[in-house]
């Protein structure tokens, strides 16, 4: 799917890092409060270091737009111990690494139940919403929420729309949504609060594949509008029935 040109960029100085607890089994490192390429590259860098780190008591970590959350076992390491080890590690990580991301395309049939609402909220036509959504190249800032769900940065702020006041109880797999200034794709059927503008026929998370998540943190993604017929055809291909 899509070509795989590579894109690289270099990064500049990170923001000061904040460390704080989330409950009694998680420590959060926060690199800032706004989406930025620079901050996210720093997140990826620090995450890579934590990957190669075997600290007893550390269970796993979850990188996000501007944070890394580290889950630990408080019976094996105290919050203070973990904090001081992390501070030391982060200090020693060089800041001049460059980052390479793969280019990927996601076909979308723009038929979402909230397309009209997103258009109306922003004073646009539905066609304009589709054009603005399918023009930019998005960066996969993180994978989370449910298996394989990409959080994409780089959406045009002219189509930004707040999350639904009450999350929907059921959103089908492949739904493409907007939440504030973010856009993403639902890989499996789940409840969720995003405004749904379309659907992709691709399977974003496939357990039968060696790497089950279609997208990875750092990928460069473009949405390609397709017709209903193309949607049906591609869906048959990607779900194999």
């Amino acid at each position: 799917m899509g070509s795989s040109h590579e894109q690289s960029l270099s990064i500049a100085l990170p923001n000061p890092i904040r460390y704080f607890p989330m409950g009694d089994q998680a420590l959060v490192l926060s690199f800032g409060d706004t989406i930025s390429e620079m901050v996210n590259v720093r997140v990826r860098q620090v995450a890579t270091h934590i990957d190669n780190w075997s600290q007893p008591g550390v269970i796993e970590y979850v990188p996000a737009y501007t944070t890394i959350t580290i889950y630990y076992d408080p019976l094996k390491i105290t919050y203070q111990e973990l904090l001081s080890v992390l501070q030391m590690i982060v200090q020693d990580i060089p800041e001049d690494t460059e980052y390479i991301g793969k280019k990927k395309e996601i076909p979308v049939y723009y038929n979402g139940a909230d397309l009209a609402y997103v258009a109306q909220y922003n004073g646009l036509t539905e066609e304009e919403v589709i054009r603005l959504h399918s023009t930019p190249e998005y960066r996969v800032y993180m994978i989370g929420f449910v298996p394989g769900f990409p959080y994409l940065g780089g959406m045009d702020s002219r189509i930004a729309t707040p999350r639904k006041e009450v999350p929907r109880l059921k959103i089908e797999a492949g739904a493409v949504g907007i939440a504030g200034e973010q856009t993403g794709v639902y890989p499996i059927e789940t409840p969720g609060g995003w405004q749904i503008i379309g659907h992709t026929p691709l399977q974003l998370f496939d357990l039968s594949k060696e790497s089950p998540s279609l997208l990875e943190m750092g990928d460069c993604v473009r949405f390609v509008p397709i017709t209903y017929d193309e949607f049906v055809l591609l869906k048959t291909e990607s779900y194999g029935h």
């Binding site: 989330m22 979850v62 996000a64 889950y71 105290t78 504030g180």
Partner: protein, 327 residues
């Protein structure tokens, strides 16, 4: 073979202590909602802590035993019965081949655990036997158990004992009539209006019907932020209490999404997750604020008790083994 499901019950799934290490790809941890009931059940049978069991929800299943096995039922009291006779909980019991295990009226709590000595013959998927139904991952075919499912035991029971005269001291397990859940301040607590902060720690919340293994929706007075703003998604976990713009809190449970974008007003202390997991729709709860140090101390105390219990149980099994040797 092992067991055959005659009736599925309300929601009956295979769960161990959860699937860790893949949250960064969005994979839920899942695992037992009441992990302490599972741990205690495994200890009672001398199983490994992480052995998978059957989690039953409110209305339990009917299970036919094709083979004799040593089991224990822990967690909620959903009135377990064997061939119609009431089955004592929190102790090892030998179920003879040809017997029916069933459940009756839910007496206390929502989730019971049926643990089998030596475990069930279910392959691990991505490091765990837990079922994550929404993702169709793990457990028995990625889904809750259904009528007709047949699951083998990994070990058949070879012991000679058919009667165990001891049971676990039930005071080691939380009192399920407690309605107070201890929490720590969430990272976004200061973003809420002071009235909302106050009412969060003093009001009574009702668990709504739209509550499941993924999260409990709570109804209360609307919890308002000082200013409505969109947050960037970040990691959330079992016990994170999020507040969407409608002002009704959602407590994330075992099948929680790995990340979320609603402000987190508080985080349930790990010690009280089992208690919360035993609450269900229409139950009323309130929150008591504790510090991180208090939360850690509670866990350490519980762990010390748990280790003591495991030593005591190991001794029981050694003794029975010794008697067998003598005879």
């Amino acid at each position: 073979m092992g067991i055959k499901i005659i009736k599925a019950g309300m929601l009956t799934t295979i769960q161990d202590l959860g699937r860790y290490g893949l949250q960064r790809y969005g994979m839920a941890v899942s695992g037992a909602m009441d992990s302490y009931a599972l741990l205690l059940g495994n200890s009672i049978l001398g199983n490994a802590d992480n052995e998978a069991a059957i989690e039953c929800t409110v209305l339990g299943p009917i299970i036919y035993f094709e083979q004799t096995q040593l089991i224990t039922v822990t967690g909620a009291n959903l009135s377990p019965k064997v061939d119609g006779q009431s089955l004592p909980m929190w102790k090892p019991v030998l179920i003879e081949a040809g017997s029916l295990l069933s459940f009756g009226r839910p007496n206390s709590g929502c989730r019971a655990y049926i643990c089998f000595q030596g475990g069930l013959d279910i392959p691990k998927l991505l490091g765990s036997r837990s079922t994550y139904s929404k993702g169709q991952v793990g457990g028995w075919k990625g889904r809750p158990l259904q009528e007709g499912d047949r699951i083998a035991f990994r070990h058949c029971y070879k012991g000679k004992d058919s009667l165990f005269r001891w049971s676990m001291d039930p005071s080691l397990y939380p009192d399920l009539s407690t309605n107070v859940i201890r929490v720590m301040d969430g990272p976004q607590l200061p973003c809420f209006e002071s009235a909302a902060q106050k009412s969060f720690f003093s009001d009574v919340f009702t668990i709504s019907n739209n509550s499941d293994r993924m999260g409990y929706r709570l109804t209360s007075k609307r919890l308002r932020l000082t200013e409505q703003k969109e947050l960037l998604s970040t990691a959330v976990t079992f016990g994170s209490i999020q507040v969407p713009p409608d002002g009704n809190a959602i407590v994330l449970m075992a099948d929680h999404p790995t990340t979320g974008g609603y402000p987190v007003i508080a985080q349930v202390a790990t010690i009280d997750l089992p208690l919360l997991a035993q609450k269900g729709p229409n139950n009323r709860i309130s929150f008591e604020r504790i510090s991180l140090d208090e939360a850690h101390d509670l866990l350490k105390k519980q762990h010390t008790q748990f280790k003591k219990l495991k030593r005591a149980i190991a001794l029981k099994y050694e003794k029975t083994a010794y008697h067998r040797f003598e005879l």
